[in-house]
Symmetry: C2
Subunit: 416 residues, 2 copies
Amino acid sequence: MTCSILSIGDELLIGQVVNTNASWLGDQLTSLGITVAAIINIGDDRGLIAREIERLASTNDLLIISGGLGPTHDDLTREAICDLLGCQLRIDEEQLRRIEQRFAERGLPINERSIRQAAIPESCRTIANNYGSAPGLSFTLGACRAYALPGVPMELKGIFGDEIIAEIAPEADTIERQTLLMFGLTESALADQLQELNTLLGDGLTLAYLPAFGGIRLRAMRNGSKDNAEERFKKLVEGIATLSARWIVSTRHETMAAAVGALLHERGLTIAVAESCTGGTVGMLLTETPGSSAYFLGGVISYANSLKQGMLGVAESDLQQHGAVSQQVAIAMARGVRQRTGSDLAVAVTGIAGPDGGSPEKPVGTVWIAAVSSTRTIVERFQLGREREVVRARAAHLALWLVQRLVVESEEEIVG
Amino acid sequence: MTCSILSIGDELLIGQVVNTNASWLGDQLTSLGITVAAIINIGDDRGLIAREIERLASTNDLLIISGGLGPTHDDLTREAICDLLGCQLRIDEEQLRRIEQRFAERGLPINERSIRQAAIPESCRTIANNYGSAPGLSFTLGACRAYALPGVPMELKGIFGDEIIAEIAPEADTIERQTLLMFGLTESALADQLQELNTLLGDGLTLAYLPAFGGIRLRAMRNGSKDNAEERFKKLVEGIATLSARWIVSTRHETMAAAVGALLHERGLTIAVAESCTGGTVGMLLTETPGSSAYFLGGVISYANSLKQGMLGVAESDLQQHGAVSQQVAIAMARGVRQRTGSDLAVAVTGIAGPDGGSPEKPVGTVWIAAVSSTRTIVERFQLGREREVVRARAAHLALWLVQRLVVESEEEIVG
């Protein structure tokens, strides 16, 4: 089954909103074994919306449309569907009642604009929206089944999960997938390591390299059963686990922070963070995962040096002698937050995110990270480039990686 | 001038990577007065890449292609361009030398895979990449000028800024834009407030509502000079400033965190944060802005209650009596971090992000935020819905809003 995603909204084209909806849908559809052929973003243009739906419906079995179902004058999806299907809008009494009730519950006055969201193209079936005012819509065009959802992420995800998965899942092809999150080596080096496995690929078996700040995500996917595909899939996954064992962070479909959190939770360990240049990013990443309170105590954002001293006990002499961005201060920050919070482990990040602050000895992108436990210290210096957001994001993920190594390598030492 | 953006990569379709490149390009192009008609994401499929380039080139003056220029077997953009233009790949000696030098500088061994990145379609002009191995490519197809850039964000942004803007800018239409970042009211309510201005719109003048966690971004845009468009643009912007003055956070093209940071910097004020459920998000947002060290000292991530007591001095009796998510604890956290860091202002966030932790009196989404100065306290309770990531993101932005109000309303009181 082939699917395309059509995201409607000027805000996407001018770069004011990043298309996280499409990424979420792509992930959901792929998990169901549905091949996502394309993601299209267009603006709030009634004629273009109708033309694009028609074009995509001619080459896809499934079309997920999002956006343009809101209450303002630039929300035109309903009208475009009417133009395309040759039908009229009618006010749906049930929808109107639901909208009136939503507004009443929140003590907000309803207005004509919101009533517009109860208007449904006659040729569409409505799909319940338990998260907002605009109902989803469903229709067929030729051999293509199409759904139109609100662009508000929570509403889109809610409706998709509640109503649409059940309708489309039975028709998805049977596949097998394995994801491996790798960290600590370049894409090119990893590709070299796994080169001998390339002979297994093809005829329904693919291996994709999907880089992100949190490392490289390998995605092995079997689609169909031609030519011993099941056996080749097994050999591929085992091969990766053997050839690149050292760099595997997780074999689950989770972020690096979730993987590290799961490891800490499994081992019954708590952690605290001391962050300078990352400003709270490490804490933010760790707390994205529900249940992180089981292992994450919190920490200190010691952006100013006065806080490194006052809240973490970093010695003024260390700051004077070595500077805030140094091995000594990184270790002192980590030990300081561990001691003050009572955590089992701690990780500290101190660096120069840029664009200012660099020097010949410590250029922009210089970051020291220290991970400490009661018995071990791992401390490393990294050069993370010249772009502020990249330096911060990479530093935060490297901090998570050092924590993972701190836990796993301790056990290797004890065992080995 | 009309432009489309073609982003190539399986990782985009399966939702493993969000298409921030396209959003960034959309923003850049729109700033130049170029209309972005569509953003297309497709997979690493050689035939489809060629077909989509051909299709988009027939309806656009400009086409920006990203992705598929890397060193692995699924990087196929060069080959697809050759198929389309009917030319061959040739190794460019200059590019090869640059790649060898890049690897030598970093002390990394070069491999055959990376040498592939020096192969150029004969009909393309190369564009210097000072940030990575793969050069950009430029070619024309019919009346369309096309550029192919690496998908690595830093490289794409670097090449676009260094080389491409200068080539495409002179041809952009003359426009006028004004952005206003609004916070504290719903899109629907804002639309009602501004209703009388709708008569100004049309004939080259548009007003877009672009919601995001940081509020609603209004974008007034004039494209051309028909029918007193310049005069109408001026009336529109002045009208918004008059009718909705109370909710304007910024009139610059900046995030809420940057706007609040600029306000603090302007007033010579410093700030510290005390974060519980947001886990470091507020600090992360504030430190995204270069130069934030002028006003941001840092703070405490008091995820566990023990840290609220130990690091912020929150009284155990308050925690017992009112609970961690309460007005009293929010104020105590804010005052505690202000006192311990010596900052002028402080903001604290404590809430239930979910999915667990809710109760009838304090359901998931209950968040208390307190903003304090030496003379004033603003403290409010919010109900932010049931979705963890939404609760956290909205809470972080509301925290910034309360800081803004703390500063601005103080001045209003003194003046008024």
